[in-house]
């Protein structure tokens, strides 16, 4: 993962709606990159292009290049299923599988991929939950439904579920927008911990959050990448007038 993720000429559409225009940026490995911007600016679409989830929606289309470890995700013959195994994703709303226990949720990625060895699964689940800072809170209720946990715990359960398949990159689509400040703080702490091993891209509505957790930040507006750079510089000394207007709260 020395190369991080290199995005070149990325365009995306929903039907005839052009939602991303000529995006190009370099995401550093083992660091946190934040994507900010007003609603509908294409930031969610952008990270969904990084693990080929955009094309799951009917009529959605992508063009361009996304290089991960030098290999293009959109090269012909690349299996999106393999891409998604290496590039995990956490969504805005915690979405544990309602028919599964907490344990089964975390084990789902491995088990449904064919792993049956109970010891391996136990081990992977404990490791993922520990990694997601949830082990101590749920180790006695692993057989309870995942949906019986609190909102913040459910989101960390989803992070653990994504971690269990040992991805190299973690995409987070507004992971804290449905959480209270305490649960949010826990997730942010977790993000800072995870970046030691993973490349993280986080979409957030919350500019303070971007400032707190990320090394680099990209500002999206109307489907374009307006500015991309070191987080501190982008927030203290934006180069573009539109970025300045947005971060100072003049619109958005």
């Amino acid at each position: 993962m020395a190369d991080g993720i290199l995005v070149k000429d990325l365009n995306a559409w929903f039907g005839t709606l052009h939602v991303l225009r000529d995006i190009g940026l370099a995401i550093a490995p083992k660091a946190v990159t934040a994507i900010i911007g007003p609603s509908g600016c294409g930031k969610s679409t952008f990270i969904r292009c990084l693990n080929r989830m955009h094309e799951v929606v009917p009529s959605a289309r992508v063009s361009g290049t996304v290089l991960v470890e030098g290999a293009n995700l959109y090269a012909p013959g690349v299996d999106p299923v393999e891409v998604r195994r290496k590039i995990g994703m956490v969504f805005q709303r915690a979405n544990p599988f309602p028919t599964m226990s907490a344990f089964d949720n975390v084990a789902a990625g491995l088990r449904l991929a064919g792993m049956r060895n109970r010891a391996v699964l136990n081990d992977a689940v404990e490791r993922a939950l520990t990694h997601a800072a949830l082990w101590d809170e749920v180790k006695d209720r692993l057989d309870k439904p995942g949906s019986s946990l609190s909102g913040g715990q459910q989101q960390r359960l989803c992070i653990a579920r994504a971690l269990a398949v040992e991805p190299e990159v973690m995409l987070m689509d507004e992971p804290c927008s449905a959480l209270d400040p305490i649960a949010t703080a826990k997730i942010e702490e977790l993000i800072l911990e995870l970046r030691k091993d993973l490349t993280i891209v986080i979409v957030t509505h919350n500019m303070q959050q971007a400032a707190r957790v990320s090394e680099a930040t990209g500002f999206f507006l109307l489907g374009e990448l307006v500015e991309f750079g070191v987080t501190r510089e982008l927030f203290t000394n934006p180069r573009d007038k539109r970025t300045e207007d947005y971060i100072t709260g003049r619109f958005g």
């Binding site: 693990n51 989830m53 799951v56 009917p58 299923v81 393999e82 891409v83 998604r84 195994r85 290496k86 995990g88 994703m89 969504f91 709303r93 979405n95 599988f97 309602p98 028919t99 599964m100 226990s101 789902a108 990625g109 449904l112 991929a113 439904p145 949906s147 989803c158 579920r161 994504a162 398949v165």
Partner: protein, 268 residues
Amino acid sequence: MSALTAGSALAVVLPLILLFGFLLHQGASAVNVDFFTRLPKPVGEAGGGMANAIVGSLILIALAGALGLPLGILGGVYLTESRDRRLPWLIRFVADVLNGVPSIVIGIFAYTVVVLPMRRFSALAGGVALAVIMLPIVLRTTEEMMRLVPASLREAALALGLPEWKVILRVVLPTARAGIITGVMVAIARVAGETAPLLFTAFGNRFWHQRLDQPIAALPLQIFAYAIAPYDDWHRQAWAGALVLIALVFLVSLAARIATRGRYSAVR
């Protein structure tokens, strides 16, 4: 207002309660061990039972289920998952029309495609007729229930790097399970009481059937035959048959609910 709604709710279940009470009143006296273990007696002899019809009905339902459920559920999955627009639209339309086709017509269809080529009435033909009745119900319920599963669950599973068929099989279908089972129960209850399509397919049988390609007895047929006969004894047995039929549907629903009860099912 709440009196009005409560009254309406009561009015809805009142027919069922009355029906059950009436059946109990008329039929309970003829329900005894013989009824479940004996074959029908010839006219004029007292006693006898409907053992063959009870077993026959169960076999017919099993046959219909074996044919109709896999097709209906897989078809429902197709209707939910297909990205094509025209073919699913057409299938939905045809299924809804099929749902409205009178069951006697479906009986004629089974007569034409199964009875005529085989040159005999048979349990198989009855099973095919009932399966055709079940199909649209199971198909549409499966589709509706799968649509109720939040897209976010599907996305979560896809984002774990699972192929689409596994996402459907291991995440979407289990989440929709309770709803699908309800649909299956409705379909079974519906066909368990069907009489018309069995008249010239399963045909009925006063004795035990030997093989599935022979005529077979069924409770609704037996009830029909006994109810239109001029003997008081048979009328009582017909009432008892109706009571047993309803109890059977009730028990099958209950058993299926218990047997397939998920630990945590989302859509109900």
